[in-house]
């Protein structure tokens, strides 16, 4: 009894704030200052070298590229005057030469003009072997790109030579020509990524690694980074020299709170305008009369799946993999464990981008009888004949949950006992990179919204992120064809075929498509979210966002 009372008191103490927040005094809205949480210190905010979501959240405010994405993830011309097409002469008829015409009124935050030379410098810098930029591999289709990047151990003269041979040339101040080695229908999307945004050669030469510290961090975007207190916060102010329409916000603050509960508490204490909701707590928020009005949720281009190592027994058996995929109750997971946040996934490419097929993979819909039949067909009418099945994962609270859910499902539905192997994160990643795992959990998010970012890199024979060791010559041939196919309809058909192949071979058991579940103060208006946002919802379009009274 006493314990129940203690429990009640503690629970009240915890629930009370959820209720009280509604009755709290209405704090006067600071004049157009958006307070968000970056949730960590960016590794680098150098556009060429950045690779993580939270780094992008910084770069998006301070830089703008030739092309960028609209909210519906179609391309738009930003610094480029128009999107190059064959029709407007921007793309040669063989699809191997791209010419970008630049706007002449684009300026840097110190007033200088942005020229084609800035882009040439940036893209060549991206391919500089000494910088070892993580996204360089995306640009190996550019003539000479791979050779230059591969020259790390060469002398300076050879590097300079290779650098000059890279197929990126500023024809004049406002014309940039890029030559690629093979037709690449998605090249323009790749050119819309943050790592090709222009950077200033004179600044980088002058300040070296220090150039990313304000006030040297000079960009051409709507905001300027005015303050970076490491590990603590960043402040952005409007770029007074901005060449486009001035943003409505006057200031953006990024805090660096890493703990999710602390972030939510800061939001409740009115220190933040945007906050994550810890996974699993969504229902409490939805049931709260006040907070439920502040929810921001939308699907992301991210799929989570279990990946089998198909060259190691017992998962070299396709029927066994299919049996397991059929024995997982994805709907219950999403609806019950995840409070309905996210969507069950049966195929690989997520909804919201080309290549998504709602009909694909429905044969893996949860069905215990069918799963058991598949198991028998796989040759395991007696499950005790199965070798020990290990499931490796990086030991975080979220992964622990999914691992135990999987273990429960396989035990209850197939009678198979799997051994869970929690590992320290880097040790796990090394194991997976070396393909020594049996079975692992992973997620993939879109770099750009096209199937060619989703299939060959993961299922092509020997591809960098192919950790299922899946190898199918037919798939490889299809992917190779699709990567250079300029007829878009045909191209998408090829990818559809390729995806069907993968789903049928079942090297992965897809689980769910992720959905973001955040809170935003009710006075935050025009938060334009996309499935490819960085760390923060709507961070690609903060220049549209404003705070109402």
């Amino acid at each position: 009894m006493v314990k129940r009372i203690i429990f009640l008191v503690f629970t009240l103490a915890l629930i009370l704030p959820l209720v009280l927040i509604g009755c709290g005094e209405e704090a006067p809205a600071a004049p157009q200052v958006l307070r968000a949480n970056l949730a960590g210190e960016p590794s680098t905010i150098d556009p060429n070298r950045a690779s993580w979501a939270l780094e992008r959240s910084v770069i998006m405010q301070c830089f703008q590229g030739l092309l960028e994405f609209n909210q519906d993830l179609t391309l738009k011309a930003v610094v480029a005057r128009e999107i190059p097409t064959v029709g407007n002469g921007g793309i040669s008829s063989d699809g191997m030469t791209y010419t970008f015409k630049l706007r002449t009124n684009v300026t840097w935050s110190d007033g200088e003009k942005v020229t084609a030379q800035d882009f040439e410098y940036s893209i060549k810098r991206l391919l500089d072997p000494d910088l070892a930029c993580e996204y360089a591999g995306f640009y190996f289709d550019i003539v000479g790109g791979e050779d230059y990047f591969g020259a790390a151990d060469q002398d300076a003269a050879t590097k300079a030579q290779l650098r000059d041979a890279v197929g990126v040339k500023a024809k004049d101040d406002y014309t940039l020509e890029i030559n690629i080695v093979r037709p690449r229908p998605t090249f323009l999307q790749i050119m819309a990524l943050w790592c090709t945004y222009p950077v200033r050669e004179d600044i980088i030469e002058a300040y070296g690694a220090q150039w990313t510290e304000p006030p040297h961090y000079i960009g051409n975007g709507p905001f300027v980074l005015t303050e970076w207190v490491h590990q603590d916060h960043m402040t952005f102010k409007v770029n007074e020299d901005y060449w486009g329409t001035k943003p409505k916000l006057s200031e953006i603050q990024y805090k660096m709170i890493t703990d999710q509960n602390a972030e939510l508490a800061a939001y409740m204490n009115n220190e933040l305008d945007l906050a994550r909701v810890p996974t699993g707590s969504e229902k409490t928020i939805m049931d709260d009369p006040v907070l439920s009005q502040e929810i921001v949720r939308y699907p992301e281009l991210i799929t989570f799946a279990f990946q089998f190592n198909v060259s190691k027994p017992p998962f070299d058996n396709k029927l066994l993999r299919q049996a397991i995929s059929t024995a997982i109750d994805r709907v219950s997971f999403v609806d019950k464990v995840r409070n309905g946040v996210g969507a069950p996934a049966y195929s690989w490419i997520p909804p919201g981008m080309p290549g998504y097929d709602p009909e694909l993979g429905l044969e893996y819909t949860f069905d215990v009888t069918k799963a058991r039949q598949l198991l028998v067909q796989a040759g395991y009418s007696d499950v005790s004949k199965l070798p020990e099945i290990k499931f490796q994962y990086s030991d975080t609270a979220g992964n622990r949950l999914i691992a135990q859910f999987l273990q429960g499902q396989i035990q209850d539905n197939l009678g198979i006992t799997i051994t869970l192997e929690p590992m320290e994160t880097k040790a796990f990643q090394e194991l997976v990179n070396a393909e020594l795992h049996n079975w692992a959990w992973f997620g993939w998010g879109a770099d750009y919204p096209d199937p060619d970012n989703w299939l060959p890199e993961l299922f092509g024979t020997g591809a960098g992120n192919n950790h299922t060791t899946y190898s199918n010559p037919e798939f490889d041939a299809l992917a190779d064809e699709a990567l250079s196919e300029l007829d878009n309809t045909k191209r998408l058909q090829l990818w559809a075929q390729a995806q069907e192949m993968v789903i049928d071979d079942c090297p992965i058991a897809t689980m769910y498509y992720r959905e973001r579940f955040w809170l935003a103060k009710p006075n935050v208006k025009d938060l334009l979210t996309t499935g490819m946002d960085g760390q923060l919802p709507g961070d690609m379009f903060f220049y549209e966002t404003y705070l109402s009274e």
């Binding site: 629930i15 135990q404 929690p422 994160t425």
Partner: protein, 295 residues
Amino acid sequence: MSMAEDVVQTEAVRPHHTLWGDAFIRLRRNRLAVVGGVLVLLVALAAIFVPIFSPYGFAQQNLDAIREGPSWSHLFGTDELGRDVFTRLFAGARTSLMVGIFVQVIVIVIGLPIGAIAAYAGGRTDNLIMRFVDVMYAFPDILLIILIRAILGGSIYMIFLAIGLVAWVNVARLVRGQILSLKERDFATAARAMGAPGRYIVWRHLLPNSLGPIIVLITFGIPRAIFAEAALSYIGIGIKPPTPSWGTMIRDGYDLIFSAPHLVLFPAIALGILMLAFTFLGDGLRDALDPRLRR
């Protein structure tokens, strides 16, 4: 029974008591210590029997009863996979008690002799040992634990070992400090003068005299070890699920503190009670083992 009788009796036939036998008798007379001991025993018994007789398995999931608060069917509610928290709490007590106790065993087995030898031998031996201890100290626990775990592998015994191998330095330093200050005392000097061998002096005189602070350190070491295990699961090298431990339960519950606070509260309260029990027991032991209080 009158006091007088008691006195007469003890004076008449003073039974021969060993240090430990005597201590046990005195321990029994300390009411708080008895309460503590009984509590520890109860937790241990519950840890053995509750999971056996519970209608739920500690790993048994029920997706239709997720994150529910306490009710008659689930006394302490359910967790994020619909598992019964009551059952898991006592199954977790097994792990946590084992972690707490085995780590202290490792700590004592390594720390006590090293500290004692350093202090008693003195000179070059002391210097060498203490510099080694300095090196050990200079490593932050978390680094060493991660490294030891990553190198030794993932069984629960390796968790004991990893935590133990890091924690013994405290005991070693404390023992050394104690013995250093005791060994110049009259009784030790007297023993030495009478030609008692060093090992005997350390074992019979110096160690028993310094047991107080050591026992306090150990009773504190138990929850620290349990926390260390929780920290391990916090950073991603914890106990292999679905076996629960209080550390992992608290850690996993922490993520849901705004929506299901009972997931943190029950293991935290359980930990508090167990801690209190160990503290009472530790205090009782300290008094009981105090040679100056012997009859």
